[in-house]
Amino acid sequence: MQDDSDPLLECLISNALLRFDANLRAALPRTAPQLLKFLHSVPTRPEQVLSVRAFPHFVLPYWLSPARARGADAEFQTDVIYSTISGYYSIRLCDNIADNDSSPELRKFAPCAAYLDSEFIRPYMKYFPTTHEFWSVFDEFWAKQAEASVADSLLDDVDEATFASLSSKKFTATKIPIVAVQFRYRETLTSFEQWLRFVDCLGDFAQFSNDFFDWHHDSKYRITTYVSSESKRRAPRNTVTEWFLNEGLDWGVAELKLRFDNVKLQATALGNKAVLDWVTARGRTLDSDIGKACSGLELVKTFGRITSRKQP
């Protein structure tokens, strides 16, 4: 777990999660329990938010904030995390419905996105009046996120250029709490553009990581991704499983490493210790996941050899 030595961060996340859960159950008393059940893999505890495998949506704004402001401005910090949780749940709800990635019953919960969106926006209204320049940036990034998610799901084929310009932009909403922190503590201005570039780079890696490790699930549910499209492009006469066993794993691992190298470069340019520590830990987890996947596929090859061996 990343940053588990930061009790203030854990406390802020815990408070925001508790508030989110209490507000959701109070506002939607009949539907909240089922909604939470259907939305598997969303964070409900601080350790999930802080898991190094998770995209650091919730912690990047905290890491960007001046150290002295984190505790002194705890209400703002908690509000930002609360907003991000609400936005994340809204996006997951919409994505899971769009991808058929849950019970068909989940579609009936689509109107809950309206509640989640209002909880995403509301905290910022306390800090930024309607005429504040924050809102034009908010509008831009929130719309880009929606546009990228829908446009990506409508694609029949994703090539490298489309992936870079569209699929990897599905993390753009992460920039909103970063922008909020920027406007709250103006002193972070010098590195602000670098933070946005870091989010873009991390989004590129995270989306590819999702597409790569989900290749079997996506193939089963006929979800078009860069990985599934490459499989068809590179080996159109083979199944995705055949392609994965033959060269897909090696291709995907090389792409993952390339993208993660870019994340490391951007993190180094950012020079933020907490971000660098996270990237180092994420790199170790990635190496471990790749190693395990390779050893698992070695067992597949072993099985193939055993069961096709000719008798002497």
């Binding site: 495998r53 996506d218 006469r237 055949e242 596929l297 055993i306 008798q311």
Partner: protein
């Protein structure tokens, strides 16, 4: 890499096994206890359509299966078979 090429043939047994190892916990459990569950593995091979030249070849394969440590097989489901690492990256 050229477009539209036919990749070298992957043994169909590997394709069948990978799909099964990612999704069939019962099959994986049988492999973890290959000595005890030899009969179950034999039945699973039949069910999966994995054929052998004769009964001796199948017995030899089952002997070999018993001597492999399949302990890491669960990683295929953990990493590649669940539709997303938990928690999801995005």
């Amino acid at each position: 890499m050229s477009n539209g090429k036919q990749i070298p043939a992957i043994p169909s047994n590997e394709v069948i096994f990978l799909n099964e190892a990612m999704t069939n916990e019962e099959f994986r459990n049988a492999l973890y206890n290959a000595k005890r569950d030899r009969k179950k593995i034999s039945d699973e091979l039949d069910r999966l359509g994995i054929t052998f030249s004769d009964a001796n070849a199948k017995e030899a394969a089952l002997d070999a299966v018993e001597n492999i440590n399949w302990g890491d097989l669960h990683v295929l489901e953990d990493l590649l078979g669940r539709g997303g690492l938990t928690p999801r990256m995005g």
